[in-house]
Symmetry: C2
DNA sequence: AAAGCCATAATTGTCGACAAGTTTGAAACG
DNA sequence: CGTTTCAAACTTGTCGACAATTATGGCTTT
């Protein structure tokens, strides 16, 4: 599933493989938020020794999916309004910057290619309206490619490796509901148009709004759940 | 040396200790930029087994001081104009954001405490003019505390853990020369004043300029060296 | 009965050895 | 003489076992 995604590099080492498996399990909620991650237990579950497992845990900490304490161990992070705020506050700023840079640097051919991608999304959306999976992948592809257009390796690393999976965890577990889905498409179009016009300032502004809207959507769901407890 | 720095957490595990030692060695240039890092060699040099050493290498990769390839190994990064541009482009944006947030959220007591810190720096500078060590530590302390004032854990993590040491490596190896040193003090004062006035927009702008100036300074040194080759 | 303490069990951190992969360099070939 | 091939040497990745630290649970004490 989703093996075509540009974000999934082919695993070369055992640690790579188990990282991807655990990452997926956490994002999807198969390993529940807040739970303790026992090294012996996970090693048995994924049929590996503790060495590559610990390597995987270290990388999971790097992308903020687990928290580790020396001599104590690792826990899956808990989703919270406070963490969501901090995460999206940062994404707003960084993806806004990515847009500004992409407007300056993205080659014309890539802009055209992105336009074609959005047209494909639109067609796909018509076929399966409300189908969140395609939408989500499409949304991610769009963001992903804009970020790559920034041509800043540190920015790309932060957004695509370190913040990506946590943001995805919020979206997968708290979902994106009805009307928001189709609106996101229009916002993508507007952002890309600004980039095509080489209007970095506008692309920045539109992307910030786009991310803010996405955050508001998730925060509503999250508050409902937090109040239940 | 520099054990009082707020950035240096007390090492609890062997991996922590060797990480700090290697980190220091790379930043200071004792392990030269671009050189291969042999695991057996480093293990012998620091008197540890390869397990904690590999843990340290993983964290060095995280803060962009080394690059690793599967089944090949780790190399110390090379300093380049292109990498400097990307790094400072990002720092400008992120520390600008930190200033804006700090202007909103930093408690009054912390603002006062920072004022006292700058006064102390000024006194210290008079005592040892041109002494780059104190200046540098002081500069870092200032930036560090403004970042903490942002109250955004992901932002703090990126700036203080992941980008900090590479930025420091550029500064240590390419230096901060004469007139820039004293100017930095004045810029700090202006930034802090804006934060004290709760003028986030201005603090953002001033911090961006401050970082841009610092970058220009380093880039000049770097270009000279690159042309020599 | 609640709080503190100690021994025990379980977990994490580290080690040395083996397996799998890559680099090196010399011999064979064009 | 330059290029290719291949094997030996070395490096990285993985494993199982041991050491050090933390969590558990029953016992004592007040």
């Amino acid at each position: 599933m989703a093996l075509h995604s540009p974000l999934l590099k082919a695993p070369v080492t055992t640690a790579d493989r188990v990282l991807q498996e655990i990452q997926h399990a956490i994002v999807e909620g198969d390993i529940p938020a807040g739970s303790k991650m026992s090294e012996p237990e996970l090693a048995k579950r994924f049929q590996v020794s503790r060495a590559p497992l610990r390597e995987a845990l270290a990388r999971l900490e790097r992308c903020h999916l687990v928290e580790r304490l020396p001599n104590v161990g690792a826990r899956v992070v808990r989703l919270s309004v406070e963490s969501l705020r901090a995460l999206y506050e940062l994404r707003e700023e960084l993806e806004g910057l990515a847009c500004r840079l992409a407007a300056e640097k993205m080659p014309e051919s890539e802009v055209q290619s992105l336009k074609a991608l959005l047209d494909k999304h639109l067609a796909t959306q018509r076929v399966s309206e409300g189908e969140s999976y395609y939408q989500e992948e499409g949304d991610l592809d769009f963001h992903y490619r804009v970020i790559l257009g920034s041509d800043n390796s540190y920015l790309i690393n932060i957004l695509c490796d370190e913040l990506y999976y946590l943001a995805r965890m919020y979206r997968v577990q708290l979902g994106m509901n009805g009307p928001r889905v189709s609106r996101a498409f229009d916002e993508h179009r507007a952002i890309l148009q600004a980039i095509a016009n080489r209007d970095g300032e506008l692309a920045d502004l539109l992307m910030r709004r786009h991310i803010r809207a996405s955050r508001d959507n998730i925060e509503i769901q999250l508050r409902e759940i937090e109040e239940q407890t």
